[in-house]
Symmetry: C2
Amino acid sequence: MLMFKEYIKKQQQQINEKLASLFDQNSQQSRLLSAMKYSLMAGGKRIRPILCISTASAITDHYMDVLPVACAIECIHTYSLMHDDLPAMDNDDLRRGKPTCHKKFDEATAILAGDALLTLAFEILSDETLYHQEPQVRIKIIRSIANASGPNGMIEGQMRDIASETMRLKESELEALHLLKTGALIAASVNVGAIHANATERQKQQLDIYAQNIGLAFQVIDDVLNVKGDPKLLGKAVGTDRSLQKNTYPSLIGVGRAEEKARQLVKNAIESLQEFDHRAEPLREIANYIVFRSH
Amino acid sequence: MLMFKEYIKKQQQQINEKLASLFDQNSQQSRLLSAMKYSLMAGGKRIRPILCISTASAITDHYMDVLPVACAIECIHTYSLMHDDLPAMDNDDLRRGKPTCHKKFDEATAILAGDALLTLAFEILSDETLYHQEPQVRIKIIRSIANASGPNGMIEGQMRDIASETMRLKESELEALHLLKTGALIAASVNVGAIHANATERQKQQLDIYAQNIGLAFQVIDDVLNVKGDPKLLGKAVGTDRSLQKNTYPSLIGVGRAEEKARQLVKNAIESLQEFDHRAEPLREIANYIVFRSH
């Protein structure tokens, strides 16, 4: 477990350095770039980029080339949080214990900085000086990330999340929502790691089962932590879902069954990796971390 | 001139059919897709996609393959208008004579539908069933469009536009603002048409001069029409720039000199095409249309 913590810390460090370097090229320090950097460097767990790198490293020893792809995914994840936090959506003042972008800057800046991070992701993926890879592989990666982030993926999930605020969902509807809202980009993170590493079709299928399961487990545990987590560790308030009468796994099936569901999902995820060798150990550890994390 | 009007009409029709077809694949009619389609099909002039197609057709006879690229650019242009219109930015109720997206739907939907159109553009460009082209050419096209739309292009222009509301700009600053806010995507429209058609480096340079000049001329005339245009033809109110004390060419240098400037820019644009044959006629006509249009 200690080794895994060190692994995560090392990965986070590499990702953070690469993300920060994206802003070094620009000598001018505009308000737009400051807002983008503020949100991007606000201390995220970097789970999606770590999944991307760990997937590539489960298949090939030359996996660090995938780092720019991992960073592009983090740009998209961050933009989605910035827009989610806006007054017209979740209206959140705090994110990871710090003022949200529209609180620190203003609403127009937060909208535009979010747009800019989304666009930057595709600048990174199409820049051959940043990301070295065969054009046909790059196109597949761009397509996977765009599909997962677009109107048939993450954004549709967010729309359903907003619509569901005024109605009671069934468990299957809540699951469909999360598979779009958070599952799609998590699945893409794993998928593009596999594409980059030239995985076989069978490997891609097994990794997809892994990703679908941990994506959902991650959301279930997020809901559980909102009920029984420590606000200091989480960097945000707890109990907010209940007061907002949100559709969550604890509210639908209870905390105990939600935790049991998460454990089963993680078990499925790890089983799907049985044909992978020791290089998939970080992916197995990540799956376990999702259930046993405190924030 | 009649032939040119027919040319534009035919191009608009092809573009509109292709844009509409992007939504046919989706059997489910979600609120998100409805909002995207509403803004995309609200009757834009399609200048950017027409520029893209006309540039390709100035170089090659096999130019209609570029249509999906042209549509992707229109998706990005439309998203930028949707976000510009939001209450936190320009707070516009009307666009092309119709309620803006956040008025027709709501603010959250307009933000997300804008995000979705931006992402859809990259889905189109990376989808080999929609756009047939060599991967290395596609990557160059994606890079050109992403750079023009991102934090060093269109979005930075919009940030400067917002910041300039409370200050008086010099003409050079206003020009720099417009080269980013509208010029970058117009230049990319021409550039990707040239990339698609496998233009020589010299052709690309000449086309870039053309694009820079017409992009600026377009904005100058937009400002002039806000002073002396017909609100019925424009589909929006006139005189709004003066009441908002906006930085415009008429306010900085007067209507007469602004019109003279636009004519000079268009002359430069047409001169830059002198090595092109009759197939560049639509590009020359578009340049003239920009100065002589009434809306």
